[in-house]
Structures are given as structure tokens and as C-alpha cells.
Symmetry: C2
Subunit: 405 residues, 2 copies
């Protein structure tokens, strides 16, 4: 029989779930309260206020949905979209593709605006697509399948011009880089608890603008999902007034998210973003110093999720297995169109720390050398350490470096 307390311990450097801070684990283990207990309701208020801070919004409807990030995506789409609506979807990877699929199931006329994986969607392509009319423009802020950052301001401009609502997937971005819902003019954004927020998977924070709420109020058909119906959910999550039971909130998951948000406040949002940026760039410098090729287009690389090409002749799965079995480090392979071609290395949650950057580079140094890949041994660690310290790497003594083992 598998025993939970005999599970191995890993360093989680995939695209999520991310490593969870001991304080968040301890919060998880707090005895459960009822979902209408006054003490739990007060905690809900705090979680909502803290989520508004992270999203950069004053939206009253800002709450964690009782599901994972995909539930957030589904909630955003099924509440906003009615059959026959024209939904322009920017597709730059697997999660843009998923948005198009869900919008299609809602009966929308889906207009696909695609771009090669590894690049952001071109706002001009969106503009051309929206010229034929658009009720909603939807796309991903930080595409978890490619490691690409989508600049949002030009897209928001396209949405304004078209009179469309802007729906943005912030699953991987929230807490790791600024999201700025209000400043940019995002109408509905959602995320997931297990990425940069550093809680376990199971909750999907979502925020809804007054304009989006108005659109939802004007629906002519009920939202196809009762579980994710935002009008019903706000009856339970609204602050101050009387709360109406909708479904039993996942109490322990809310505890964990609450504590993760407290950790974020203690560090400060700006400091957290700076840490993500500094360590992400250091990891990328290290990988490049090893002669590996980054996958995401330069200037559009996410700090919290780095994608790198599997070098020619190297067995993708064997390296990942080695990382997991020999070093207890999890990274991820590619999804869909880039399966077998890229690795995805995340620095999220409690794993976003200098030691993790060096660990994964050092382990790759060993395993890639053993696999016959030729590169300057030690260069990755040196470059990353130097980048983290904010200086150029020191030359090795005597300039001698081994180039293979």
C-alpha cells in the first residue's frame, strides 16, 4: 500500500505545482472550520482583499474558485460567452488552444488568431480579426506551454477599439510579474493557486470588472455551469452582508492560499517580482552559458518559467528521468506541438531561490555531460551565480575549463 508519509520529496521546478512553503503546509493542516463559520468568513474577506492587491484591481468580485486553473478558464468563458458570440482567441500555445476549445463548447463563433509557438500573439493580427466584430478577446498572459510573455497593453487597446471585453489567463503570471488588471483594462482575469502564489493546486483566483458583470447580468440564457456561475458564487463570497450558501468551500485550500498571500505581503509584491526576475534571468544566463538554446523569443521570456530546447542527440525523457531519480528534481517536457523538443523549468513559489537555480544547473551539467553533450563544464553554474550577484562570472583559474567529462 502506498503511504502518504512515505512519498519522496522533490525539488519542484516544473511549470507547477510549485514547492509549497512550510508555513503554507502548516496552514493546510489547521483543523477545518465550517464554510459559514464567522471566523472562516473573516478569512474569506482577507483572501479577497489580498487577491485584489495581487491582481492590481478594486474589482469587488475577486475570489478563489473551487477548482484548478482550468476551472478558472472555464468559469471566465462560460460566464461571459453566450452562443453565437464572436470570440477572438489569441493562440500562442496549448493554453490559448484550450481557451478556443472551451469557447467553442459554449457555442461561440471562435476566431482563431495563431502565432508560431515561442512567440507572442501579434496585436495587429488580433486587430484584423476583431475588425469583423468581437464580443470578447481572449488570450494568455504567460503561456505555460512556451514560456512566452504576452504584452497586454496593445491587446487592451485592440479590445477598446473593438468594444470587446478582454479576458486574460494569468495562471502563470499572477504573483510573479505585475498583472495590473485595472490599469491595463482587463475585464476578467483568472489564475491558479499552485504557480507563483505558492499554494497547492485546487483554487483558481478570478477577478471580474463591473463591465463584465454587466454583460453577465444581461445574459439571455443561464450560464451552462451551475458550479461556476459567478452570480451565484458572489452570493456566498460577497463581503459584509449576509452570505448565501452555494457549495461547500474547500476550507483547507483557502487556509493555504490565505497563508501564501500573507507570505507575499510580508515580502512585498515589488520585492517578489524583483526576485522572480533576477533568478529567472540568472537561470536563463546559466542555460545559455552551457550552450543550450532558449526556446521563447528574446524579449518575451517569462522569468518564472524558462523554456529551453532539448539539444540534438540528447534523449529528452532520459534526462528528465535522471533529474528526478538521481537528484529528486522535477522539470517538465514540452506539451503538444513541442513534445520531446523542449524542457520547461519553473522557478515558482518556495522553489524560487538561488539554491534551486544552482541545483538544476549543476544536475544538468552532470547529466548532459554523461549524455555526451559537449559544453563547458561548470559554465552554467558560474554564469547563474554571477548573474544573481549582479556581476560577470569570474574566469576560471588559469583560464582552463574542461569542455567535457
Amino acid at each position: 500500500m502506498t503511504k502518504v508519509d512515505q512519498l519522496p520529496q522533490r525539488l519542484l521546478l516544473g511549470p507547477g505545482p510549485s514547492e509549497v512553503h512550510p508555513r503554507v503546509l502548516r496552514a493546510l493542516a489547521t483543523p477545518v472550520l465550517g464554510h459559514l463559520d464567522p471566523a472562516f468568513l473573516a478569512l474569506m474577506d482577507q483572501v479577497q482583499a489580498d487577491l485584489r492587491e495581487v491582481f492590481g484591481t478594486t474589482n469587488l468580485v475577486t475570489l478563489p474558485l473551487s477548482g484548478t486553473g482550468t476551472a478558472g478558464m472555464e468559469a471566465a468563458i462560460v460566464n461571459l460567452v453566450e452562443p453565437g458570440d464572436r470570440v477572438v482567441v489569441g493562440i500562442a500555445g496549448a493554453f490559448g488552444e484550450r481557451m478556443a476549445e472551451i469557447a467553442g463548447r459554449c457555442g461561440a463563433e471562435v476566431v482563431r488568431v495563431e502565432t508560431p509557438w515561442g512567440r507572442p500573439v501579434d496585436p495587429d493580427d488580433l486587430r484584423r480579426a476583431a475588425a469583423g466584430g468581437a464580443d470578447v478577446i481572449a488570450l494568455v498572459h504567460a503561456e505555460t506551454s512556451t514560456g512566452v510573455l504576452q504584452p497586454l497593453e496593445p491587446v487592451a487597446e485592440v479590445a477598446r477599439e473593438a468594444g470587446a471585453l478582454l479576458l486574460v489567463d494569468c495562471v502563470t503570471s499572477l504573483g510573479g510579474i505585475p498583472v495590473d488588471v485595472d490599469r491595463i483594462g482587463i475585464d476578467i482575469a483568472y489564475s491558479a493557486s499552485q504557480k507563483c502564489l505558492g499554494a497547492p493546486p485546487g483554487l483558481a483566483p478570478i477577478t471580474v470588472s463591473p463591465r463584465a458583470l454587466e454583460r453577465i447580468e444581461r445574459r439571455t440564457r443561464p450560464v451552462p455551469s451551475w458550479y461556476l456561475d459567478l452570480r451565484l458564487l458572489t452570493g456566498y463570497w460577497r463581503e459584509g452582508g449576509s452570505r448565501r450558501y452555494h457549495h461547500t468551500a474547500p476550507i483547507s485550500s483557502v487556509y493555504a492560499l490565505a497563508e501564501a498571500l500573507v507570505l507575499l505581503k510580508e515580502e512585498g509584491l515589488e520585492a517578489r517580482w524583483e526576485r522572480q526576475e533576477r533568478l529567472g534571468r540568472a537561470l536563463q544566463a546559466g542555460l545559455e552559458a552551457m550552450g543550450l538554446e532558449l526556446f521563447a523569443a528574446e524579449g518575451h521570456r517569462l522569468p518564472m518559467l524558462t523554456t529551453v530546447r532539448v539539444p540534438e542527440g540528447v534523449d529528452d525523457a532520459a534526462i528528465r528521468r535522471g533529474l528526478l531519480e538521481v537528484y529528486g528534481i522535477e522539470i517538465a517536457g514540452g506539451l503538444g506541438a513541442v513534445a520531446g523538443q523542449i524542457w520547461r523549468i519553473g522557478l515558482m513559489g518556495a522553489a524560487c531561490r538561488p539554491r534551486a537555480v544552482l541545483s538544476v544547473l549543476a544536475a544538468l551539467d552532470d547529466l548532459l555531460a554523461a549524455a555526451g553533450f559537449r559544453f563547458e563544464r561548470g559554465a552554467g553554474v558560474a554564469a547563474a551565480a554571477a548573474a544573481m550577484a549582479g556581476s560577470a562570472p569570474a574566469a576560471a583559474p588559469g583560464g582552463v575549463r574542461s569542455s567535457a567529462r
Copy 2:
């Protein structure tokens, strides 16, 4: 700021979430693994096998959905029902009502078969309704809003006669009384982690018969929910073969459910059912000995969830507030049609123990007496203790008992 580690501790005797055993809390706090980690996949296999035992089924598709019990209800309905299908729904309380609402959102022709709250649905009423044709017959096994047990065998017979699939809500029954999916012939059943299974809320175990899977395979339209699409979910949860990523499983919640199922196996299903039965009947004996009137019809009372009428002249909310604030005991009020008229007292999860039975009776003894309700002080505790011991209550010395304080 609300602090998670300063939350009060309660004795949870509502209809769920239930008290979580310390071993389950400790499992929750286990460091997180990736959702494709071989060690996590092995744990998933074990959870599925254990759920089959509890459901009484060999259904291959038996897995915990990433949502609460309502997500289980929604998954069962949206996967099985297509627009225009005739769905006969037995409605004996709030959760039957919810089923009808969700089936309606799927575009089903919903045939409502109602019964007064406090009684089970009459199978003959279902038979008459199904005579006009039925694709699905849906109802609740243990109605959480009324405390009523619905006998399933006669309903299964109606479904067989009508050639309809049988969909059963086992949210409150699973783990507390036999469910017997295969023996009875249930096609799709779902539950929730936070009731008699004794884990925190957040997962909805579901089991699907081969016949129901066939119906799902023959759908002419995609399932409206991508998140809850059982065909996609089984790609991730299927045992043995290669697993396809669908969404990030709520790892920590799965740990907790796994440990809760281990606890159940250690005790034994039969022993667990016997304990639920014995303590539930003792609580009911205690309440009646205090002169309170049970709400659910005799012969149809659930052991794990007791409903009792608020006595005339007693303030429902004041008593519940007193229980919570003075004694740290949570019970629930009535929902919908019986709001303010009944209390719901659960004995589920770790709270199903003799001490809890006596605690709530003793606290009610105090608070009801203070509220001016006239009854024999101490009679509730005595009757319950005697019932748990399997004997009649001993008479008080000298036959003298106070009748009010």
C-alpha cells in the same frame, strides 16, 4: 489581519465539512509532488481502488473529481445528459432541486417528481413519470437538507423497466452507509470528500458504469464542461497505461483523501457503518428523550445526519449561536423550505464518536433550558449513553429529575 493559526477550533457537527482526523491533517501537510510524478501516480491508483471498495463497484472509471460535491453533481449530469433528453428527477429536498436546475441548464426536458420535505420520493411516482419515457432517472440517496434516506432498490427497478440510466447523489451517504453501486445497478454516482469519508472539502469521488460510459461515447454534442469532461479526465486517471495531462490535480487534497481511505480500510467498512448507525440512533434517542421532534419520517432517518424540529418559541439562530460561541459546537439550520424550522446535526468523519454525541446533547440541554423550553433535564444524555451501550437508561436516584432549570 486574520491569521490562519489563530482560528478557533470547533466540534463540527453540521452536515459537512466534518471533523478531519489528525492523520488526515498531517497527510495534507505532506510536501507536494508533481501531478505526473510516478509516486503520485501510484497513489492515484490506490485512491481509485479504495474508492471502488467504498462505492461497492468494479467500475474502471472511479476517480475523485477536482471540485466539491456540487462539481460531482454537475459532472454526472453534464456528461450524461444531452439537450432534449428526458430526465426524471426525484425531488425531496434542496439537493434534488439542485439536480433539476442543473439538468435544466443542460437543455434537458426535466420531469419533476416531488415529495414533501422529510419523506423519500415514492418509486411509484417515479414509475408514472418515467412511463412517458426517461433517458435518465436522477435522485439523492441521502438528502442533506432533510436527513432522509432514499431506498434505492425500488428506484433501480423503475430505471430498469424504463430503460433509463440511474444517476444517484451519494454525497452524504458514501462511507456512512452501504452504497452498493453494482449490486443495485447505479449507472453514475458521486460523493464528496468532506462528509462521511472525513477528508476536507475539495474532491468529488465519482463512479461511472460501462453502460453510462457507452451513453457518453455516443453523445452527438461535446460535454458542455471541458473541466469536467469524463472522457478527457479518464485519460489522466486511467491506471497502468500512459497518462495524459488534463489539468493539474489538487495534489494535497488527494493526499488527504488517500489517508482518509486508509483509515476507513483499517477500521473496516462494516465496522464504520455499524459505528455510524449506533451513534446516529443514540443521538436520535437522546433528542427524542429531550422532548424534541425528529423531522425525517420514521424508518427513513439517516444515521449520519439527524434533523430535528426547532421547538415552538425557541429562537433557531440564538441556539446555534450559543452552541458555537459558548461550546464551540457547529450544527446547521435548515435550508430553503425549512429554514428556521429545523436543525441538522451531523455525525461524520472524525466527529462520529460517543463524546461528540454527549457533547451536543449536553450543550442543547443547557441552552434549551435557558431558553425556557420545558423538558426533563439530563434525559437526552442518559438516553443516548444507554443507546450507545445497548441498554435502557438507568432511572435517576430516587426518581427525581429536574424538569427545567
